[in-house]
Symmetry: C2
Subunit: 464 residues, 2 copies
């Protein structure tokens, strides 16, 4: 019976793999070209909806903020629809509004992103607005003052948000003296200082063709896209400038021992986060890390942390783990919320689970189930123009290779239990981590076996 089931599963996995084998006609067609100045352009042509999605990424994330002006990349992103060329903020936004176009900027640690959604009917006009936003932002004093006030207000507001406080403390502990350390949005004292001149200086370094990727999906032909891009972007500087190399990979990153800090905040629950150094986008263990994170706490009902902390003991509503592979190494983190008196127990359980995985590894059965889950969920990652444009922009920016989506299923399928064991040994050192708790101080803790039983769903006043 067991053998039959296993055989059935293997057959299923093989059939699935067969479906994904790349052929001459790719299952994930993308057209691409590069301008003489180095700008990379990607297109997924699709005429099922009369819409076009654009994503333009450039290497000018918060890691490139000048010291003392932390948050300037974020402010530049926020200003993307606050006036460009001849149009002041009000006129620019009205023009967008009146066509139902959406154009805005946003910022991550590595890149600044412009995002445009338009009906194909308005293609030329919309593209012109993207071009103006990218090449000729105005950074007028009045909208800048408003944007700065908004960012400062949202910073102040977020002082009441336990998750934000824990995130920030964890990043500071993991990335001391590293450009990934500060919040993408900066600090009030640095935001205050930003002037239009600062923004124009930063913009001049940020908009360099070789550091940029334009990803497009939707109702537009390659010929039309080429003509638009050549007309408007061939004049961009071919000099990569000071942001040409991701300097962030060169810095030493390490934690010494296990450290824990507590941030006081009143309330019935404590946010518990724990982190350690993970990988960059080019790490050869990427797919093994991806798989191991999924098994640890990356999603679904059956992750190890969900089973141990939520299902068996009911200590939290949700516990997640995630890793952030940047151009430089990013964090790998576990996060949850518990009642205050369970926080030490929950943290101890998370550390114990990491140690257990490192010592015992992952079984063939568990790995095979995880593969089925990930391969099954794969098409959902790409079921809209917006997701296609975004996914390809990331692949282009991080140079993951043009066969990345094509080969994704086979690479997931190729991960072995030995890979997981090796990766767990490399990363799951429960004595080389940083933990942060945000909640009231001095709460009586439950860790004894007897008390543990009290907080289980099988006992106590909820028993029926």
């Amino acid at each position: 019976m067991m053998n039959q089931t296993t055989a059935h599963r293997l057959l299923g996995a093989l059939l699935l793999l067969f479906l994904w084998v790349p052929t001459a006609q790719s299952a994930f067609p993308v057209e691409r070209f590069t301008l003489a100045n180095g700008l990379t352009v990607l297109l997924v042509e699709s005429h099922s909806n009369p819409m076009v999605e654009f994503r333009l990424l450039t290497r000018a994330g918060s890691a490139y903020d000048p010291n003392g002006l932390q948050g300037i990349a974020y402010v530049m992103g926020w200003m993307a629809n606050e006036g460009a060329g001849e149009l002041e903020a009000q006129a620019f936004q009205e023009k967008l509004d009146f066509r139902g176009m959406r154009l805005y900027g946003s910022t991550s640690r590595d890149y600044l992103k412009y995002q445009l959604t338009t009906l194909s009917r308005d293609l030329d006009e919309a593209f012109q607005m993207l071009v103006d936003a990218v090449k000729q932002p105005r950074f007028d004093a009045e909208p800048l003052a408003r944007v700065k006030r908004e960012r400062i207000a949202s910073y102040e507001q977020s002082r009441e948000d336990a998750d934000t406080l824990a995130d920030e403390a964890l990043m500071q502990a993991l990335f001391s003296n590293h450009p990934y350390r500060h919040p993408v949005g900066g600090y009030p004292r640095t935001i205050e200082k930003i002037t239009p001149e600062d923004l124009h200086r930063f913009h001049q370094k940020a908009i360099r063709a070789p550091n940029m990727v334009l990803s497009v999906a939707g109702d537009i032909s390659l010929k039309k896209l080429k003509s638009l891009v050549q007309q408007h972007f061939s004049g961009l500087s071919p000099d990569p400038g000071p942001f040409g190399a991701p300097v962030t990979r060169t810095l030493p990153l390490q934690q010494a021992g296990f450290t824990q800090q507590h941030i006081h905040k009143q309330g019935p629950q404590t946010v518990v986060q724990m982190g350690w150094m993970g990988i960059d986008r080019h790490d050869p263990d990427y797919f093994a890390v991806y798989m191991l994170n999924h098994l640890l706490g990356g999603g679904g009902f059956t992750s190890r942390l969900t089973q141990e902390i939520r299902e068996k003991r009911g200590l939290t509503y949700s516990v997640h783990s995630y890793f952030v592979p940047w151009e430089g190494r990013g964090g790998w983190e576990v996060g949850m919320r518990t009642r205050n008196q369970s926080r030490d127990q929950a943290l101890a359980l998370a550390r114990a689970e990491l140690a257990k995985i490192r010592h015992e590894g992952i079984s063939e059965e568990e790995l095979s189930q995880a593969k089925k889950h990930l391969l099954g969920a794969f098409p959902i990652m790409l079921d809209s123009l917006s997701k296609l444009a975004s996914t390809w922009s990331i692949i282009g920016f991080y140079k993951r290779g043009w066969d990345y989506l094509e080969r994704w299923p086979e690479r997931v399928a190729a991960v072995t239990t030995a890979d997981l064991k090796r990766v767990a040994n490399r990363f799951f050192n429960e004595n080389q981590m940083v933990a942060v708790m945000v909640g009231p101080e001095g709460v009586e803790q439950k860790i004894s076996k007897a008390n543990e039983r009290d907080s289980s769903p099988k006992a106590g006043k909820y028993k029926h």
Copy 2:
């Protein structure tokens, strides 16, 4: 010049309308059938992705919670993947996980919704799980105890969230003695009391074929869907039972005068919300209300409230208005966050803007721009299988008519300035409203003209 521009705009609008004129071959094809027991089934067939999206709505939202058991519909939704038929919670969730299927329930005021996403490869197995979740939920004591603890913890957590506190206070003020009054998730004291027997009783009333709509989008044929539905759902009760009629429309709803309440909460910002009674889904003024709300604060950069409160005075980062058309009349609300000392000014500005629109109406130019925006944004509402399945489920549940999407653009285009004036007179009575503020008490207020100028982006320390 102005005339030419206007002519150009009109031409654009006319061309757009022409594109949307319904033809024999609908632009929004939906296949539909009804079982003998009254279950309505809708299908948008699309084979571009190997996926199928299901939405099953039934009239069993929180408005149907028995008194004293507020939150039971919410808990029933939450329990949708916590075990059904032969499978206990753990086994049920593993089965979902291992195929990468997503199945869960959620609850609104009017309906309880089951949502399933699956690869078409796993169609039969996935549909069987949906069927089991709908027809044979287990409501086992152990997962129920966990779900209740989670809901109570999230309720407690949300006591720290100013927006939640303001929402709840507003609903209580607008809907005294009405089943829409209580939070969808109930209260800790009512959640505590829910037993498996209560859930089975509620389930027995909730799952009635004539009160249900199944909406499907994706990689499945009509023939296959018919066969699945007939096999599994033709045995559902044809008796609409106690939830057969939306009783909620019969209750009187009104506010007397303008009332304002303050909920104390420490912090640098105050949440300001203001609400009044809006419309139900069948109101003949639906499209005029939709348009007027868009102009007031429904989206985009150019809404009246955004202009007056954010752009001109910089008092808030974002101000929104929205209306919720339920089976019974729902609220129409304005919400924002301001610095504490600006809260009275911000509220006064919002009330003044409502009065201004009521007295002066909306200009032809402004209306024409809003139409362009809404018609331009329309395709974005339907650009994925998930959005298609959800949109059709709502159209089916609220009986909006099978030509609803087809005729949406022409109905938006048909709204006149006279309609807006009439609707503003009907709803924008700034002296018949409820306002709620959540923030510190006793903050010194700025309302004088002089102080108002101080808080404008044109003056003060941000001036460059």
